[in-house]
Every structure is written in C-alpha cells, then in structure tokens.
C-alpha cells in the first residue's frame, strides 16, 4: 500500500478519485498503485498514435469519454456488415460490454466526464461481432480487420466458462491468428490480448479455452484489491500476467464508461483485465513502435511481479521467473514495461521444435539442435498436443515436467465435465518454462482420479502426444539488459530473497482432543471427541442405531433435515434433494433422472412439451410454439397447431396468399397471381389465385399458344395443358390440333413432318395400317403422311 503520492497528477474527471488502481491521491485511505500506470504517464507515455480495438458487442462511439479518441478506421460492424460499431440498444442493456472495455483503454482525460483510460491518448475502435450468430468466419473476420492499422485487439469473451466446455478457434480463426502475427503491423505482428476466463466457481480451467491458451494471445487473469483470488478466476498454465479487477463486496471495484453516456463501477470479472493490459501495451508500443508480438510477451514475462498476490503455488522456474497458475508472472507493471520497451532490442527469431514420443510419457530432446532452423535452446511457449480417449474427461489432470524440474499443471480436474469425448488433438500451452533450457527429458504426467460417478475399472488411453517447443536458439536478451533494470524492481529475486519468503504452505498444528465434545454435539454431551460420539446433536443426526449415528450440520444428498426430530431422513427413491419423504417433494434428482417441475417428482423422461436440462437435471418447458423440443426451449422437434417446423424453429403456418420468408422469419405476400406459394416470385406458385390458370410453374390469365385450357387432375380447377408435339394451337387433348409448327402438316388433326417416305410402297403401308402404327404417338412420323397421301 502507498499513501498520497506527492507527485501525483490530478484530473477533473468525476470518477478519478475512485481509480485506486491507477493512483494514490486519496488522503484518507491507502491504495494500491502498483500497476505503476501513473509512473508510465509521468514518463510521457499516454498511448499517442497507438490504435486499439475492442472485439465485442460494439462500442458507443459518441460516449463523451470515447468520442475524442474514437477511430472509425479501427472499427467495423461484422453483425450489421457496415462501418458503425454502435451497440444495439435494448431495455435490458445487453450490449454494454464493449463500451465498458473501451473506456478502460482510452477514455479521454481531464474532460470532466467519468474516468481516465489507461492509454488516454490512444485511438480506440470497436469491432461489433458478438451481437449475432458467432461462427468461425465471424471470428476470423474480426481478427483480420485492418491488421496494418490496428495495433492491439482486445477480447473479453470466449467459449462457455461452465467447467465442461472444451472449445477453441476453428480453422479460419487459427489462420487469422497466424496471419495476424505474421503480417499484422507491417510484419511486427498484431497484439491479441485475451481475458482468461470467468468460470472459477464452476471449476473451469482456462486450458479448455483454446483462445486464451493460444500462443498468439496474451492471456490475462485478475486479482482483487487485496491480492486475493477472485471467485471467478480460472487457473491455468497459459496466463501471462494479471491486473486488478473486482473482488469481494468489501473490496473496491474498477470504474469505467457505460452505455448511454454513463459511468459504472458495477462488478467486473476478468473482462476488464484484458483492456487494462491492452492499455498498458499501448503505452509500451508508444515507447517503442518496433516491438514485435513476441517482444511484448517477453516484456510482460520480464516485468510482471508477484508483489502481494496470494497463491499457494508461486514457484521460481529454472530461468529465475516466479510464476503461478493463478496469476502467471504476476501483476503488470506499466512503468517497467515502458522503461524496458524504450531500450529493448528485438528478440531473435522464433524457432519451433516438434517431438512425438514413441509410446512413452517421457521424451529426451536436444531441442532440435541437429536442425539449425528449428533449434530451441531458450524456451518461450511450450505446447503439448494430446489425443486421448477417456470416459469422463473431467477426471483427468495433466502435468508437464521440464528437464529443469519445473512442473506445470496443464489441466486440473473439472468436476462438471462428464464428457466422454476425451481430447482430440487438443493443445495445452504453458508459459511456466519461459527462459528455461529446452534440452533434456520432458515428462507428461496424466492422472486419472475416477469420480464416484463412473466405472473405475474402465481406463482412458493416451493415444498420442506431441511436444512443441517454441523459443530461440540464442539468448533472447542482450547481455547488458539483465543488469539494467530500473530501481531494482525488474530484477528477478535472488535465491536468498526467495528463501526469506514466508512459507505459505506451513503446516498447521493439529488440534488435540482435550475432553471436549465435537462442535455438532448437543446439550447431552458425548463419550468421545468425534461427531459419532455425541449423545444428541445440535443440528441433525445421520444413520441409525445399528450402523451408528453421527451428528452433521447439514444432511447429505438423498436426505432432508427433519427439524422436529433433528434427524436426517431419506428422500423418496430417485431424489437427490427434497423437502419431505413423498415422491412429489423432490427439489433435485439423482443422475439419470429429471425433475418434473410440475409435480416435483423425479422421472426418467420429461413429459411432452418439456425438455431435459442436463446441468440442473430437470424438465424445462419448451417454447410456447413447440410441441416438443431437445436441449433447449427454442430447439423444437415438433410444433403446436398453427405452426410448422423450419429447421429447429416453429414458424407460423402462413395464410393463403403468403409464404414463410426464411430470412425475415415472417409471413410474406406471394405474387399476386398465386393463391399459395413457396416464395415471392411468379414461378414460386403452388396454386393459382382466382382468375388465373396454372401453366407449367406459373400462373397466367389465359393459356399461351401451344396450350389449351382443361381441368386439372382431380378436377378442382382449370389449368393450361400443353398441346401435342409440334402443334401451335389446339382445342383440347390428343388429336385436336388446329395449327402446326413450320415443317409439319395437319393430317387428321395431327401434325406430321412434311418429309415424305421413300419406301412407302403398298406392302409397307399395309403393314403400317394393319398395325395401326399411325395411331400410336411414337410412330406418328413413321411414313404416316406418305401412306395416308397414297391412300
């Protein structure tokens, strides 16, 4: 903590005094200013001429705090396919996210409005791409908007953080990332900053998000004001650094711009951390425009610091970098970034060394020293690509141990991940080996801890794994750099300093039994120290006299607390939680059963009109239009009366004269000639309007030449039938021709080719006549005219 920095700058923005994470000019309370943003400003870096864009749900470009720095060239609306990224306004304010992120980067300073952005002189744009169907193509387009103009792309979104999703960039997005780092910023590489994930409460792990674990993205996590782990924080090995963000209710929050020209200090998850780093990287690029995408990552590794961030896994790797699965290399330090950047020499080219161990979990590598173009001696990102089959993915834990002995957890157990899909060429990434030597034996540890929900005898199978080492063949830093850090704050700690740290894993002394009863025991006392020694219970007793009873504060799953008798009683068969013993008193159901919310019972299937919601294991109502649905209320499989199924949506059955327009999702008028139709055109008629006759695929007022009017099949209405072949006009079906085409002659009201038959002698014509060939359509041109002319 620092108090009242004497040289601090003051701005007239109303929320400036609340921006504890940037400055400390509040005389009454101490604050954290150790991201050193103001120190970077005081060195003259405010983001001038650096362009940042926010890939999100749009940004409010006319917000008073954004309008000054708004850059239309750094903006695009992918959802609306135009150049205006203004969010879609609705009464629920769904699209606030991008505007909030944008303010954190580049809100104007000293304009008497709201806040001050980290890079308050940077250019800011928005790519509106989350307010619609997101596809691989939408993501790829977003990442490829003006790569030579935009320096930094900030994203605070990703696949679901529900603890059971494993998803990442598709083939186009992967290419877009690769193009960005190869060609963006005129070859220096686009900077992609990514929020690490909000699924802490769901036990999610950011290695299961292929965006934030990509080597091309800078993955940023969050810490609270007091350096605690926020409830939403996901751990993983690809996190590079951390910023402050919202924490518990008694800790201060982050302030930023909000939709409708407002300010907000409402809760922020990791979303705000990405733009904070985007802002700090903007200051850094102002200090040195020639930094490559890898230089920026090196700078973050080198300058971020553990400071007071609390985690029990801080370790020092063999290159001297302190790193944690929660915070990466620690809290970002803006001043250290700009100072280092201003004297930075670009790191040597990236080499990639790929090794596939043969049916072993260890591999001894030289770092591809035999191939100079691939030789990796000093590590940067390490990727492990895994093909693994497993019946319950969430039971897996994966660690990677470097030749230097650094152990990085690539994947932790995920309680909610019951998928049996395993991992199909999934790439795990770790930055924990940064700077270490690649050479030696690497070991992959896969631990399978069967949960009680699966058959423990069925084991998984690690089919293949690939070790992909990224780094340089020569030392990435010039020799003088290591002794050139400012104020000592950039130094990695000496071994002595590390030893002096308090051991956070210090063992606690165990309490010894001294005749006291267990805290769950009631007023009758106990005959031993444990909960099963109680003579009565404060809350509930579980079990029976034969199997011994124990006192518990809450009844376990499958039981409910009977307050009157202080007993845990069993729920009805199939109930996981209940409020009584009856079948209709269930609150949630055991696995494989679903709670019927209408009668509070547990069933194997849901009634018609309901679908099985797997995460809550309950029956939820389908959309009003659906007769039945699957997985989601709007994913219909059959429709109620008056609706018909189009894909998975129930659409109104349109009245006569209209058809259902798939694009506009409305009933749209048919062409005026149609009574019913499948589309707007004249050729889309199914039935004709009154006064029209169907002719081929259209409807006409009167039949065209070559057609005659007659009853349609079934006799319901009239339509135009085609006259016989070669007949220009006719009076009806069959031999009723009135006029023939050129080259044909009318013979017995039939059109016959004018050519005569050379060999139509008497015998031949007799054969034609006796076989009645001229009455058969197929033979009508078969010398008939010649034979008829000859009598």
């Amino acid at each position: 903590f620092t108090q009242n920095e004497p040289n601090s700058v003051h701005f007239n923005d109303p929320k400036w005094s609340n921006m504890w994470y940037i400055h400390c000019n509040d005389r009454t309370s101490p604050c954290r200013s150790d991201m050193n943003v103001m120190a970077a400003w005081q060195r003259g870096y405010t983001g001038k001429n650096v362009v940042v864009t926010i890939m999100d749900d749009g940004i409010e470009r006319n917000h008073p705090d954004l309008v000054q720095n708004y850059d239309h060239l750094a903006s695009y609306d992918i959802n609306g396919n135009d150049h205006d990224p203004t969010p879609r306004y609705d009464f629920r304010n769904e699209n606030i996210h991008g505007t909030r992120c944008a303010g954190e980067v580049a809100a104007a300073a000293n304009n008497s409005h709201c806040i001050v952005g980290i890079a308050f002189n940077a250019r800011i744009g928005g790519i509106r791409m989350l307010d619609g169907d997101v596809t691989d193509m939408v993501e790829a387009k977003s990442l490829g908007i003006r790569p030579d103009y935009i320096d930094i792309y900030s994203a605070s979104w990703g696949p679901k953080d529900d603890g059971k999703t494993v998803d990442g960039p598709g083939p186009l997005t992967k290419q877009a990332f690769e193009q960005g780092i190869k060609r963006g910023r005129k070859g220096l590489g686009s900077i992609f900053v990514w929020a690490s994930g909000n699924g802490g409460r769901q036990g999610d792990h950011c290695s299961c998000d292929g965006y934030t674990s990509s080597i091309y993205t800078i993955s940023i996590s969050s810490t609270t004001e007091h350096g605690n782990r926020p409830w939403y924080l996901e751990a993983c090995s690809s996190i590079i650094a951390t910023t402050y963000s919202s924490g518990e209710f008694n800790e201060r929050r982050i302030v930023t711009t909000d939709l409708r020209h407002r300010c907000t200090d409402s809760h922020t998850g990791t979303s705000v951390s990405a733009p904070i780093v985007a802002g700090i990287v903007a200051l850094t690029l102002e200090a040195n425009r020639l930094l490559t995408w890898r230089d920026v990552q090196h700078l973050l590794v080198k300058t971020s610091r553990p400071v007071h961030l609390k985690a029990d896994d801080w370790k020092t790797n063999a290159a001297g970098h302190r790193v944690s699965h929660l915070y990466g290399f620690g809290l970002v330090d803006a001043e250290a970034m700009v100072v280092e950047a201003s004297k930075w020499t670009t790191v040597p080219p990236q080499h990639i060394c790929t090794q596939i161990p043969e049916r072993q979990t260890s591999i001894n590598t030289t770092g591809c020293s035999e191939n100079p173009g691939q030789h990796v001696s000093y590590l940067e990102h390490v990727v492990v690509r895994v093909i693994m089959v497993h019946q319950r993915r969430g039971d897996l834990e994966i660690n990677l141990i470097s030749p230097s002995g650094t152990k990085s957890q690539l994947l932790a157990k995920r309680q909610f991940d019951s998928s049996n899909e395993g991992f199909r060429n999934w790439e795990f990434m770790s930055v924990h080996f940064w700077g270490e030597s690649a050479e030696g034996t690497w070991t992959l540890e896969v631990t399978d801890t069967p949960s009680k929900l699966r058959n423990p005898e069925v084991l998984g199978n690690l089919k293949e794994w690939t070790l992909i080492l990224h780094g340089t063949s020569e030392h990435p830093y010039q020799p003088h750099r290591d002794q050139d850090s400012h104020n000592g704050t950039l130094e990695t700690p000496s071994p002595e300093e590390i030893l002096e740290e308090p051991d956070v894993q210090e063992e606690k002394e165990e309490d010894e039994y001294q005749g006291l009863c267990h805290s769950e025991c009631g007023d009758q006392g106990c005959d031993g120290p444990d909960a099963d020694h109680c003579l009565n219970c404060i809350h509930f007793s579980l079990g029976n006299l034969r199997s011994s009873r124990t006192c518990v504060s809450h009844c376990p799953l499958g039981h409910y607390g009977d307050v009157a008798s202080h007993r845990c009683r069993r729920c009805f068969k199939g109930c996981e939680r209940c409020v009584g013993r009856r079948a209709d008193e269930c609150v949630s159901c055991r696995r494989g059963l679903y709670l019927n919310t209408v009668n509070s019972s547990c069933d194997h299937t849901c009634p018609l009109g309901y679908f099985t919601e797997e995460s809550q294991r309950q029956c939820e109502k389908c959309n009003d239009k659906c007769q039945s649905c699957v997985r989601d209320a709007d994913r219909c499989t059959s429709c109620n009366e008056g609706y018909s199924l189009a894909g998975m949506t129930c659409v109104p059955e349109c009245t006569n004269g209209t058809f259902f327009h798939l694009e506009e999702m409305t009933c749209t008028s048919c062409h005026s000639s149609c009574r019913t139709c499948t589309g707007p055109g004249q050729e889309d008629c199914l039935q004709c309007a009154d006064g029209f006759l169907q002719q081929d695929w259209g409807c006409v007022h009167s039949c065209s030449p070559g057609y005659y009017s007659g009853e349609a099949a079934g006799g319901a209405h009239h339509m135009c039938h085609r006259c016989e072949d070669n007949c220009v006009s006719c009076s009806g079906p069959g031999s009723t021709c009135v006029q023939c085409k050129d080259g044909y002659s009318l013979v017995s009201r039939t059109c016959m080719v004018n050519a005569s038959c050379n060999n139509a002698d008497e015998v031949f014509c007799e054969m034609v006549k006796s076989n009645r060939l001229c009455e058969k359509k197929l033979y009508r041109q078969f010398c008939c005219r010649t034979c008829l002319m000859n009598g």
């Binding site: 999100d56 749900d57 396919n81 996210h97 989350l130 169907d133 997101v134 596809t135 691989d136 193509m137 939408v138 993501e139 790829a140 387009k141 977003s142 990442l143 490829g144 908007i145 790569p147 605070s156 979104w157 990703g158 696949p159 679901k160 953080d161 998803d167 598709g170 083939p171 186009l172 290419q175 877009a176 193009q179 960005g180 060609r183 929020a195 994930g197 909000n198 998850g269 990791t270 979303s271 699957v630 997985r631 989601d632 994913r635 189009a646 894909g647 998975m648 949506t649 798939l662 694009e663 999702m665």
Partner: protein
C-alpha cells in the same frame, strides 16, 4: 448430421483460387451469393445461401451441397454457431 447439438447456419466459408470473379461464378453455380473475402484470408470467401434455413439442427440436403464436390473448390465449410460468452 450433427451429433453434438450444433446449429448450422446458411453461411459458408469457401476456398477458391482464381480470384473474386471465379468465386462469384462458383457461388452462382450453386445458388449462393459471394459476400466477399473473409477478413485478410486470401482465397477464402464468404458465401450465403438464402434458400437454406438460417439456423438448423441439421446440415440440410439439397443441390447447394454439390459445391463441396466442385473441382474449383478447394475447401468449403458450412458455418456452425459457436456459443460465446462475454466475460
């Protein structure tokens, strides 16, 4: 056919060499409209088919799918909705 609850859109990503005019021709042949290059990815084009349901649980059959077999088309992928959450 999707086995994972995927939702198919009426947008395709298609790789065609030979330039935008060639892409236009390929698109027209199967009833698509070429909406242009995908970001900065060379030879990759965004095709849209207005006669295919905008969102469907299945990849619908029909003549539009012949594009996948066209010798001018190196790669084509019907776009699937990827659930994304703001953090």
């Amino acid at each position: 056919v999707s086995g994972h609850g995927d939702v198919y859109t009426n947008h395709w990503a298609v790789r065609v060499t030979g330039g935008p005019q060639q892409a236009d021709r390929v698109a027209a042949k199967y009833g698509y409209v070429n909406l242009g290059q995908i970001g900065s990815l060379d030879h990759h084009y965004h095709f849209h088919h207005s006669r295919v349901v905008r969102r469907a649980a299945y990849s619908q059959k029909g003549p539009h799918r012949f594009i996948h077999m066209d010798p001018e088309v190196e790669w084509a992928q019907q776009q699937i909705i990827k659930p994304r959450v703001k953090r």
